[in-house]
């Protein structure tokens, strides 16, 4: 069964450093998403991406964040200058169409020290 994959599973970085989180969505999917979950809190939407551009973003997704689909398979989330409060699980998701039912990856745990 096809699945969304994410790398790395755990990333530790120092405050102020740039990080890139990588996702490989399901191959025939067209809509891509990033979410984050701070420990003990709810899953929060960050950004959605379709046709090589951002279609929606939340207030959390400020200028420090960017997304890219550099090739036909990867979907990346970049945080330019990490802050302590960026420590969270980051989930990538994808869908084939404008569907409510998104397929999530296993997540990347980002720890900013």
């Amino acid at each position: 069964e096809p699945e969304v994959t994410q790398t790395p599973s755990h990333q530790v970085t120092q405050m102020g450093q740039e990080v890139i989180l990588r996702c490989v969505p399901i191959s025939n999917h067209l809509y891509f998403y990033w979410y984050r979950q701070i420990l003990g809190q709810k899953v929060e939407f960050l950004v959605s991406f379709y046709n090589n551009e951002i279609s929606e973003k939340s207030e959390i997704f400020d200028d420090q964040f960017s997304v890219e689909r550099p090739d036909g398979s990867n979907f990346t989330l970049k945080i330019r200058s990490t802050k302590l409060e960026d420590s969270a699980m980051y989930f990538c998701a994808s869908t084939m169409d404008r569907s409510y039912e998104q397929y999530f990856g296993p997540g990347t745990r980002l720890t900013v020290t």
């Binding site: 809190q41 899953v43 929060e44 989930f91 409510y100 039912e101 990856g105 296993p106 997540g107």
Partner: protein, 114 residues
């Protein structure tokens, strides 16, 4: 701003019994509701959903009930099995910019004892 609330952080149930997980929402624009299940070290997995035009949707052991007037939905699992032990997230969606972005609750951790 908790538009989707799961007031029970945890629930413990005996194997074979019914598990009932509850969820309340405040935004009347929500028109689609979903339940996701999450095991440790995995991402959320879609479980079952319901449109606002229905009040019940059933899939095997899982049934979701929607009470629009009370802005309340519940997930019933019967009979509960130890493999159902996971965190269950309620989510609600409203059409925004052509993409159905869900708003999640904080989750309820279900433990099913053998």
């Amino acid at each position: 701003d908790q538009q989707v609330k799961q007031n029970s952080p945890s629930l413990s149930v005996q194997e074979g019994r019914i598990s009932i997980l509850n969820c309340d929402y405040t935004n009347s624009m929500f028109d689609y509701f979903l339940w996701y299940k999450k095991y440790p070290a995995e991402g959320p997995t879609f479980l079952i959903s319901i449109s606002s035009i229905k009040d019940k949707n059933e899939d095997g052991r899982f049934t979701v009930f929607l009470n629009k007037s009370a802005k309340h939905l519940s997930l019933h699992i019967v009979p509960s099995q130890p493999g159902d032990s996971a965190v269950y997230f309620c989510a609600a969606s409203a059409f925004q910019g052509g993409s159905y972005i869900p708003t999640f609750g904080r989750g309820t951790s279900l433990i099913v004892h053998p």
